[in-house]
Amino acid sequence: MLSRIPGIVWLLGTLLVFFSAFGTRFASAPNVVNIGTQSAILLLLALPMTLIIMTEGLDLSMGAVLGLSGVVLSILLVKGFALPVAFAAALAVGTAFGVANGVLVVALGMPPFVATLGMLGVAEGIALVLTDGQSVVAIGSTLSGIYSRQWAGIPFSIFVAVTAYAAFHLLLYHTRIGTYVFAIGGNREALNLAGVPANRYHVLIYALGGLMAGAGAFLLTGRMSGGHPTAAIGMEFDAIVAVIVGGTRLERGDGWLPGSVLGVLTVGVLKNGLNVMAVPSSLQIASIGLLVIVALLIDSIRGRT
């Protein structure tokens, strides 16, 4: 019976037990909440990344787009616009980049790696020009106020992450669009033969990526009380790794959304646990590499590759 449980669950469980036993106050409520808030933004990116990877693509621009959206959000707040307006603008910017990615990959047929790498540069460049390379602070306290609010001891960002997960879960597993996503990754011809405009939905997947980058910008800007052009660059790699560690594979064309959550949590638990145990930094860096390899080794040994 235990063989039905995916490897990532075992790995996460082992880490939890290990850190609880050897890390002071790891299992305390504040620390668990920390893991949640620290992982929330990454989860927002990992959800659309799962869909993108399922369609054998990649989005390397998410971090830079998040940064740009955050910068737009912050600049508008500084100029006195109301939060909903600023946020809508941030979402629009993110979605625009997502659509651009989708068009490049789907309509023009560019390899996703280079297309999104180029867009990374574009997003980063625009963000640097808008901010002249510095943080945008003085955004007022509304956003950080919302970010710090808690209900029943659970912070705002965790609610956002859970809601996002619920939405994506519904989308992927209980709607028509979800079946299209599976089909685009697995058997695109079938979709086209059935008369469904596969390209349109494929672009939609990348657009979702941009949209979630915009949403992530809301959280990160609240967390930093400001917008920063390059703070989130590199997060997309973390998201890709979390997705793959969680069970979705780059080559296979199918995916497991709950796995992405587990992947994000596993990385978050590891980083948090290593800090709580005051492990020296070089060892932390090596452990992250080891974790990633072990995570997939577990599955490989059990013949699930």
């Binding site: 469980g13 037990v17 305390s28 930093m224 009380s225």
Partner: protein, 382 residues
């Protein structure tokens, strides 16, 4: 079969309820194994039912429940309060790649040893990462250090981090780069812009206020970069006969600085001075000059050992510095002193140094031999 499945579900709910109740009544740990072993769910018919019904969700739930119970059974919080002697401070630096921060960490450890205290080093695994330093602060708060010695990755973006430390009543000694917000018990460092300004002026004065210069910028998005480059440009503005030919980015990296300088040497037949926003870039520029057999005065920032050696060889004109080792020393001493209710100045500005071939001797000491000076010799009581 159907009856057995619903029986298992009900029993699983019961086991979860029992664990939950026990947790709430504070009597969890010794009883968990008893509960689990003695529970009807563990009886043979239900085990078989779970296995044969292939209920992965039940299995996952079981694993999660057991894990959580073990988690709550963890060693009780180690609240051995650390009083005088043995105070633990958390030291935050920006990255593992810049030798400057290594000297800060060495200073911190040296000071802690002298004062019979301990430090825990926090360095982001992703070098210079703002979100990661914010997470490190949260993780550090869980460990309840006595105090924090803090260098921000970004002086504006880390303000929420300081505020979190303030909310947790952990005193903060801010060193090296001033955080533009939050409450610190002390700031000990230099004004980065002044260091850069003076270093820039030094080079321009050596040029007799006359000539062509280029600036090598650091990483876009870094507040340090903005401060240093801004100060360089301010220095240049003070000398009307000095022409700024170009200001190009090289990401604080040596090889990029080499390539950028190489390229610029092609555009400009006459370059008299290069102002680099850190030592690594200055040294890369020097390599490019050597390879092209051209000469120019070069200054850097950070005061690294390699820069001092280059000054000794006559290749680098000067490096601007605010001794990182001393920051680590005094910052940690201040933190421990505060915990021992000894006076600590609200602000301590180190005298900045433009290190050139006339005054490098004091800095040219191998790491192993450097010792923190006594507090009183540095901080005159006011």
């Amino acid at each position: 079969m159907m009856r057995d499945q619903s029986c298992c579900a009900k029993r699983l709910k019961a086991i979860v309820g029992a664990v939950y109740d026990r947790a709430h009544s504070g009597k969890l740990c010794p009883r968990v194994l008893e509960i689990v072993r003695g529970h009807p769910l563990m009886a043979a018919p239900c085990r078989a039912c779970i296995r044969s019904a292939h209920r992965p969700r039940l299995q996952v739930a079981l694993v999660v429940v057991l894990t959580l119970s073990l988690v709550s059974c963890a060693k009780p919080a180690d609240d051995k309060a650390e009083k005088t002697g043995g105070e633990s401070s958390a030291v935050f630096t920006k990255n593992q790649t810049n030798p400057y921060f290594r000297t800060v960490r060495l200073g911190a450890e040296n000071a802690a040893k002298q004062m019979n205290a301990t430090v825990i080093q926090y360095i982001p695994t992703k070098q210079d990462s703002i979100p990661e330093q914010l997470s490190e602060i949260e993780d550090a708060i869980i460990k309840r250090p006595g105090a924090v010695v803090f260098i921000p990755v970004d002086s504006k973006a880390m303000v929420p981090g300081i505020e979190k430390l303030n909310a947790a009543n952990i005193p903060v000694v801010n060193i090296t780069d001033r955080v533009l917000g939050g409450q610190s018990i002390s700031f000990m460092g230099c004004d980065e812009s002044s260091v850069s300004l003076n270093t820039g002026r030094f080079l321009l004065q050596k040029l007799n206020g006359h000539g062509n210069v280029i600036i090598l910028e650091g990483q876009g998005g870094s507040q340090n970069n903005a401060n240093r480059v801004g100060a360089f440009k301010q220095a240049i503005a003070e000398f009307p006969n000095v022409k700024l030919l170009a200001s190009q980015p090289a990401a604080f990296q040596r090889v990029q600085a080499l390539h950028v300088t190489e390229n610029l040497l092609q555009s400009y037949p006459q370059i008299d001075g290069i102002l680099a926003a850190n030592d690594a870039m200055a040294l890369g520029a020097i390599e490019a000059l050597d390879a092209a057999k051209r000469k120019a005065l070069v200054v850097g920032l950070n005061g690294t050992k390699e820069a001092i050696d280059a000054i000794k060889e006559g290749k680098l004109l000067a490096t601007g510095d605010c001794d990182g080792f001393m920051h680590g020393c005094l910052g940690t001493m201040a933190a421990v002193r505060h915990l021992r209710n000894l006076p600590v100045p609200k602000e301590f500005i180190f005298s900045l140094m433009v290190i050139d071939n006339s005054n490098f001797a004091g800095m040219d000491v191998p790491y192993e031999n450097r010792m923190c000076p006594p507090w009183e010799s540095v901080v005159k009581s006011n």
